[in-house]
């Protein structure tokens, strides 16, 4: 579904060039769930923007559904790292924005979409907030609105940039379950950026680890745990722990390739009851 061949991205900054990405070769199959992890600033968001057709790569080629990417496509949805809500639109009409823009091409009527929007808002716990304006919402609430917006059109491909970063543990769990359900029902192809290794493992068919400056692909880890997965209460606790450990090690590794020594300082985030 998504294919990157030797993709690189160099930014021209005021203070000289930054190589954000280098030699990225990645093939994401249709219906696959790939998570991207890597240190902050290693180029994850940039990679998503390349796939979305928001940025032309400075080298290499990007293909989606067999076609070279020359601009955004209507079957690809992008959830940005920041909520990016239109300040003059209510919550509901922010969620409806993709439908409005795509009018005429939608397969259902507008009313059906409106019902779907309400349903999504309820799912993320925002019932009763439909008519509020974005500035009346908390940070996490805004992120949830943005999530609903990216789900409204049941896209073929979803690119999600840290979609759950501002959410509490409970909401996060619920929403990742919902996301898995969507993926399985509609066989959506998903590329998902996260800083939580658990989340990466819980959700992914494959985890891609990027190294920073310049962003290169360190390793691709397959996750073979059967779905639906629900961390902390399934039978694969040890497998998950093993993979998590390995990912940690990969992230902590120096770029040269020697592994970080386990037992060393480890991320807070990673130990869960």
């Amino acid at each position: 579904m998504i294919r990157l061949d030797g993709v690189g991205q160099v930014f021209d900054g005021r203070e000289g060039q930054v190589t954000a990405l280098e030699k990225i070769d990645l093939h994401v199959r249709g219906g696959e769930f790939v998570t991207l992890i890597g240190r902050s600033g290693c180029g994850k968001s940039t990679l998503l923007r390349l796939i979305a057709g928001l940025l032309p790569p400075t080298s290499g080629a990007v293909q989606v559904a067999g076609q070279p990417v020359t601009g955004p496509r209507r079957d690809v949805s992008f959830m940005f790292q920041r909520p990016a809500l239109l300040p003059w639109r209510s919550v509901l009409s922010n969620v409806m924005l993709p439908v409005e823009i795509d009018k005429g091409q939608g397969d259902r009527g507008k009313a059906a979409y409106r019902d779907r929007a309400r349903q999504l808002l309820e799912l993320v716990g925002l019932q009763g907030f439909e008519r509020r304006l974005p500035h009346e919402l908390s940070g996490g609430m805004q992120q949830r609105v943005s999530l609903c917006r990216s789900l409204i059109r049941d896209p073929q491909v979803m690119l999600m940039d840290e979609p759950f970063s501002a959410l509490d543990a409970l909401t996060r769990t619920e929403l990742s379950e919902e996301l898995q359900r969507i993926k399985m029902e509609l066989s959506t192809t998903i590329v998902f950026v996260t800083h939580s290794i658990e989340e990466a493992v819980l959700l992914a068919d494959r985890v891609v680890v990027l190294t920073p400056r310049p962003g290169r692909m360190r390793e691709v880890v397959d996750i073979d745990i059967p779905r639906p997965r629900s961390l902390g209460q399934n039978a694969h606790l040890t497998e998950v722990a093993a993979i998590s450990g390995r990912l940690h090690a990969l992230l902590a590794e120096k770029e040269s390739g020697e592994p970080g020594v386990p037992g060393e300082v480890r991320p807070v985030d990673e130990v869960r009851p």
């Binding site: 923007r49 601009g71 955004p72 209507r74 690809v76 940005f80 990016a84 300040p87 924005l97 823009i101």
Partner: protein, 265 residues
């Protein structure tokens, strides 16, 4: 250790809708007071600057006539202003859409804008006759530039993140403009409107200096014929009032159309 009182102070004066009307009126009264004070203090002669009282008396000598002339000017002003919006906003769209067109078009716009309008008023009459048209066109010429430039600037300053959002939704250029940029630019567009409306009023006056038989500009021009400075100032005062009313009409409209863009201080 310093602790300053800095939470938003909210009082009757800042919050009440009555105050929102009363305060400007007080301001206006103070301004008129100043004017009066000046005429008295410096004993300025009425042929230079009549006192507000003289002006009021003059107005009530023939209120119907003056109001009718005001109506004429008002109509021209509004027609020209609307025309300026209808022409200016699409020009701004084009300018924002293409750097190349922008660079080609700006010098032309600047040229048209920088021509002293008083100097070309007779030309307009020669080309368009004595009817409404040269007046409306003059108003248009006077006020289209602030509208173009603030619309363009406002649309250009739309945050990248929102533009990228629209693009990621595969929005057409038209949608990007109408659903995002134009909406986002609205507060700045209104700034342009507010500057433009005063210019529009002045445009109508200038146009009435040449080849007109009605309107406040004509009255001012005419008052020269009878050395009636007070009448001229009565007309000027009516013009000011017209300007102020139109300005506040825009403020109200903005308040009503853009509740999300209320000011933060």
């Amino acid at each position: 250790m310093t602790t300053r009182r800095r939470m938003p102070k909210r009082t009757w004066l800042t919050d009440s809708p009555v105050a929102a009307v009363v305060l400007p009126i007080i301001g206006l009264a103070a301004a008129i007071g100043l004017w009066w004070g000046a005429t008295v203090a410096f004993s300025i002669q009425p042929y230079l600057l009549p006192s507000p009282w003289d002006v009021v008396v003059k107005f009530f000598e023939q209120p119907g006539y003056l109001l009718q002339e005001t109506g004429t000017s008002l109509l021209e002003t509004i027609e020209g202003f609307l025309l300026a919006i209808v022409i200016g906003v699409p020009i701004a769209l084009v300018i924002v859409r293409s750097v190349i067109l922008e660079r080609l078009a700006y010098p032309l716009l600047l040229m048209v804008n920088s021509i002293p309008k008083v100097a070309i008023a007779p030309l307009l009459v020669i080309w368009m006759g004595f009817g409404q048209w040269p007046k409306v066109v003059m108003v248009l010429l006077m006020c289209f530039f602030p509208i173009v430039i603030s619309t363009a600037q406002g649309m250009k300053s739309t945050p990248t993140e929102l533009v990228e959002l629209m693009r990621s939704l595969n929005a057409s250029r038209a949608q990007e403009f109408f659903k995002l940029r134009l909406r986002y630019a609205m507060p700045q567009i209104f700034t342009g409107f507010k500057v433009a409306i005063s210019l529009a009023v002045i445009g109508s006056v200038i146009s009435e200096f040449v080849g007109a038989t009605k309107g406040l500009g004509y009255v001012i021009q005419q008052s020269g014929a009878s050395a009636d400075t007070t009448l001229a100032f009565a007309a000027i005062t009516l013009l000011s009032v017209m300007s102020i009313v139109l300005f506040y009409a825009l403020v109200l409209l903005e308040h009503w159309l853009l509740p999300w863009a209320q000011e933060k201080r």
